[in-house]
Amino acid sequence: MTAAIQFVIDVLSLGGAYALMALGLVIVYGILRLVNFAYGELIMVAGYSLYLLDGSPLPWLVMAAVAVLAAIATGILTDYVAFRPVRAKSVTAVLITSFAFSTLLQNAALLFISPRPRNVPVPDVFSDTVQIAGAITPVRNVLTIVAAAAMLSIFALVMKRTMLGIAMRAAATQFTMARMLGVPANLVISTAFAISGLMAGVVALFWLGRSGTVVPGIGLEPLLVAFIATVIGGMRSLQGAVLGGFVLAFIDTGLNYSLPQNLLQFRDAFTFSLVILILLWRPEGLMRGPASGQRT
């Protein structure tokens, strides 16, 4: 029983982080039909923001807020630098510019900060543990679950209730038609990038909280996780992205619990095999997105 509770907490906390990451990737993909390869760097930017603020007299929550804002700003900057100038030209062009922007940010970190890991401030509460029905777990995990639940609920509410949210959902199915109703293309796209930055920024706080350090290449793993989660869930569906995040976390955690010690280092191979099986069964992902779609 204790092990079961432990397992559920692990799946929910990892899945919450994965789901937010996937959502940040799919919100841009849904509208532009383009994967933002500079997405992982938003986590890096949040990480270095925390590092640069380390030692300042600010309380951690303020530093965290600044880090999240930096990720949002970088997200919007991605749109202006990598997407907007070439968006109407070709998919290949955007693919290259988004890779270029990603490389640029990473190299800026290498050059101006360091290739070596840098410590980021982590609140004491992150390293505390708490006992829930017999299972001992880091408080960080519980906080991840709470933060993910809050973010997902607010996100769902905004998409359902606000005019901008409805416009975002509409633009994800028929972009030109949404524009013909007066929804400005650039507003919708910038908002998508801002949401993407918000998700990445919040995830970064918990992601970095595990190791307590940031390196220039830190964005690769979260990008990969987000990408796989959206592929599992269905690239076109917001609910699918969330579901995919939790499914991936379930697979990862399940393998962590069940694989013998000597096979644990090959965990990713098992994970990807299962992902392939899911895709053989459901090539379009678990959830189908809206029926049609077009790019700008």
Partner: protein, 235 residues
């Protein structure tokens, strides 16, 4: 109100619209007739900003309309209803209508009043407010896209083949609705293949052939002078 001069639309090497000029006066219902491929829809899309013309000048109340910015056209007071009947299938009928009033976010009371007005005009939409728009029938979807366009409180309505693929009984209702909208003072530019019915409600008509305006004049004259069959057979 709407002035188009020397409009040209190209699809690669093909000149779909070749130097079209037309004007629609305030409160008028103008119809753009012609066979398939005559360039009617391309003309309308270029006016709405949904596609970029190669050249030409489009003005609305004297103000020049920029190429390829549908969202600006809405703010200038023109609403487009495309022929593809694009409802947002996953959004409910109410959400579709609400989005139609995107440019009027600051006026929730006015939007609510207009919502009530369009539901009165199209009662079937009132019965389906909570339903995803994708589950509506073709005729209902057509009513929804017209109602949605009205939510921006346009002064000019651009309608692209609203009768396309609908049953005769429903087409009649749609045309009655368009005539009704004209009576409210709305300026309308209608693209239609259904010449007889369109000419019956229109004030002015433009007949397009091979990308050019082949004839234009008061609807009654066009109706009397033109062999409608020839219009479609390209005679």
């Amino acid at each position: 109100m709407l002035e188009v001069s020397d409009l040209e639309v190209r699809y690669g090497a093909i000149r779909a619209v070749r130097g079209v000029s037309l004007s629609v006066a305030e409160g008028e219902l103008a119809v753009l007739l012609g066979a398939n491929g005559a360039g009617k829809s391309s003309t309308l899309k270029a006016i709405a900003g949904a596609l970029r013309p190669a050249r030409g000048r489009i003005t609305l109340d004297g103000a020049e309309v920029p190429y390829g910015w549908p969202e600006r056209m809405v703010r200038l007071g023109a609403a487009m209803v495309p022929e593809t009947r694009e409802v947002f299938p996953d959004l409910t009928v109410a959400e579709n209508l609400r989005l139609g009033a995107f440019t009027r976010r600051a006026d929730p009371a006015g939007v609510a009043a207009d919502h009530a007005r369009v539901v009165e005009l199209f009662p079937v939409l009132g019965e389906r407010t909570g339903q995803p728009a994708g589950t509506l029938s073709g005729g209902e979807q057509q009513m929804l896209v017209i109602a949605r366009a009205l939510m921006s409180r346009p002064r000019l309505l651009l309608l692209d083949e609203p009768s396309l693929g609908l049953a005769p009984a429903i087409i009649e209702r749609i045309f009655a609705m368009i005539a009704e909208l004209k009576r409210t003072g709305l300026t309308i530019l209608l693209v239609e293949q259904n010449a007889a019915q369109a000419l019956a409600i229109a004030d002015h008509a433009f007949v397009m052939r091979l990308g050019e305006v082949a004839a234009s004049g008061p609807a009654a004259e066009i109706r009397a002078a033109t062999d409608l069959k020839a219009l479609y057979l390209g005679g």
